[in-house]
């Protein structure tokens, strides 16, 4: 573990030292050298995730595949999402949109002397036990993710965005990144605010994000096995998450409103949204308008979902006007 950690630090340092910092100096942005390290690390995280998917998750999917897929095109679109998101779009969003927003919020509160206590200030023992601190952050982060996910399903305008993720009929390890850009922005802002509120120690942030992303990727895997009836209560496995992607039917109209947890199924168990019946189900959505996403490429999906979002917001306003009139 220490070897991997050192390897990561060396690679990060070398990229900054030999590539990024000289470039920033050349284009006159040296003042911002403190900030660019985080962006470089996000790209590294994305590259690592892609490498793990290619070298570990995909061979597992090929060896123990669950469903047989006839059309490779929608999967290729998901690959495009993953490459774009992890190597460019997400780091850019975080660096250009999220960090400035978060900094502004933090600066405003700090200037007025308002500073939230960190977790290790509240419980000093955690400050001396990095692993325990990591687990606390991990649980808090995942808990926040659970409730965000429930809102994605409960709010019509947010479902209009998030339904793109569910429209895939061939769910596999690449599907995790199939999201509308605006959905990604909202998700990053949500999680960043949570990170501020709980005061995630920056040194642990990388591990937190990497662990979460890898587990989320694998939970989408098209495989015919889970982690067993004990471990699948501890960590979300492909069986558990496949139920969340299940195609709704007259018998189970809200089956996709179950199993929201991204990493720790305890939240679904606690809030009574867990389903552990191990039934194989087809994936996708029962709304033909949303299902039509599968015929589109990356750009087509972004446009179509943008329109869907507009329609959902318009419908919400219309409903409000109607209820006021009556």
């Amino acid at each position: 573990m220490q070897y991997l950690s050192n390897l990561w630090a060396d690679a990060h340092g070398a990229i900054l030292e030999y590539l990024v910092q000289p470039l920033m100096f050349r284009i006159g942005l040296t003042t911002y050298y403190e900030d660019v390290g985080a962006a470089v690390e996000l790209v590294m995280l994305g590259a690592t995730q892609i490498l793990v998917i290619l070298c570990v998750f995909r061979p597992i999917e090929r060896g123990w595949s669950g469903e047989r897929w006839s059309d490779p095109r929608p999967v290729r679109v998901d690959v495009t999402y993953t490459l774009l998101n992890q190597l460019g779009l997400l780091p850019l969003l975080v660096f250009v949109v999220m960090l400035p927003l978060v900094d502004e919020l933090l600066d405003m509160t700090r200037l007025h002397g308002f500073v939230l206590p960190t977790v290790e200030q509240l419980v000093p023992w955690l400050g001396r036990n990095p692993l325990a601190l990591f687990l606390v952050y991990f649980a808090a982060y995942d808990f926040a993710g659970y409730w965000m996910h429930r809102l994605q399903h409960a709010l019509p305008w947010w479902w209009a965005l998030h339904s793109l993720h569910h429209s895939q009929r061939q769910v596999g390890v690449w599907t995790d990144n199939r999201n509308h850009v605006f959905d990604d922005i909202l998700r990053e802002i949500w999680l960043a605010v949570v990170a501020i509120l709980i005061g995630v120690e920056p040194g642990q942030y990388v591990g937190l994000i990497l662990a979460t992303r890898l587990i989320e990727s694998f939970s989408h895997a098209n495989v015919r096995f889970g982690f067993g009836r004990v471990f699948d209560k501890i960590v979300v496995d492909p069986w558990f998450h496949r139920t969340h992607h299940a195609l709704a039917s007259p018998a189970e109209p809200h089956i996709h409103d179950r199993n929201f947890s991204a990493v720790l199924p305890i939240w679904d168990i606690l809030f009574r949204t867990a389903v552990y019946d191990y039934k194989p189900r087809p994936t996708g959505v029962d709304d033909p308008g949303v299902d039509a996403d599968n015929a589109l490429g990356w750009w087509g999906q972004q446009v179509a979902v943008g329109k869907r979002l507009g329609a959902a917001i318009a419908a919400t306003f219309a409903r409000q006007r109607t209820s006021r009139a009556t």
């Binding site: 050192n6 630090a9 060396d10 990060h12 340092g13 070398a14 900054l16 030292e17 910092q21 000289p22 100096f25 006159g28 040296t30 003042t31 050298y33 390290g37 900094d103 933090l106 600066d107 700090r110 200037l111 002397g113 500073v115 960190t118 290790e120 000093p124 400050g127 001396r128 005061g199 120690e201 920056p202 040194g203």
Partner: protein, 353 residues
Amino acid sequence: MENPYICNGRAGIVAALLRGLAAFVVVLGCAGHGGSGVSAQEIETAIVLNSEEASVSVVDRKAMVQTHKFTVGREPHHIILTPDGRDLVLASTVTNELLFLDPATGIERRRIRNIVDPYQLGYSPDGKWFVTAAFRLHHVDIYEAKDFRLAKRIFIQSLPSHMAFDKASKTVFVTLQGTNSIVAYDLATQAELWTAPVGEAPAGILVLPDQKSLLVGLTGEDAAVVVDIEKRAVTKRIPTGRGAHNIFPMPGGKRILITNRIENTISAIDLATLSVVDTFHVSGGPDDLDFTPDGKQFWVTQRFRRKVAAVDMATRQVLGTVAVGRSPHGIFINGPHTVLRTVEPPAPAGKRP
């Protein structure tokens, strides 16, 4: 809150362990609370602030290992001695705090809150004023050092970075990275005296011994510049290396070292001729440094490598590196100092001179 990792064990045992088995000091030393303990000045440590990790590393300089690390606030960047030399003042930038630590062990002794965004900090030479530069929140705070009462908060455009005081403790000079200039404030009245453009992204600043000029490192360029205080203008440019950053007076007071973060070098400038007379090569974006008590080495933080490097000044060789935490920034070397410092710690009574 004391750091429970650090305990004063019995002198002989701990001193021996520090030499050979530094990594085990934490565990073994904790077994023996009480006792006379080791004098702070006898422990040869380097205290390193890992700015992106919210932690402090305590390094055993003899064994060249990090003995322990503890979490502290958020974004600790810089560290200085109090005028009496008894405490190290650590600025935790994002949590708006100053932590007062034992210079040898890093044990926290007390904490002052509501010091807003203390990115850079300094005492005036007479010890009367305490000044902070809030890099991100664009202001300079001038406090009365005796009780940390805020005398004045001065909002300024923009990115106040490093600072230097004149010998008479009348003026503080602050570099402004966002406007490529420096500003001078009268400490007694806290009034702005003047500003002057100096070059791209000015950072480290030093009042030269004649008290008539300033030396400023230009991080956005490859040089340091000399600024005439009376003329308020650049009078000389000294090419050093890309990313010229922070400035440190060398032992003896005749030379200074300036770190060149992008060039990965450290230049020695002779203060009489104001020219580069030596160059040290240290990779990893060298940033802050401090000298060993014998004046033969300096230890420098390697921001991109998550390490600190020990450099022999005679041979110009890197003697070794020690892994610490993410983005190590400020560094303080503990010991009975014989070298020139901004504030000299007092020699321990009955010990070395």
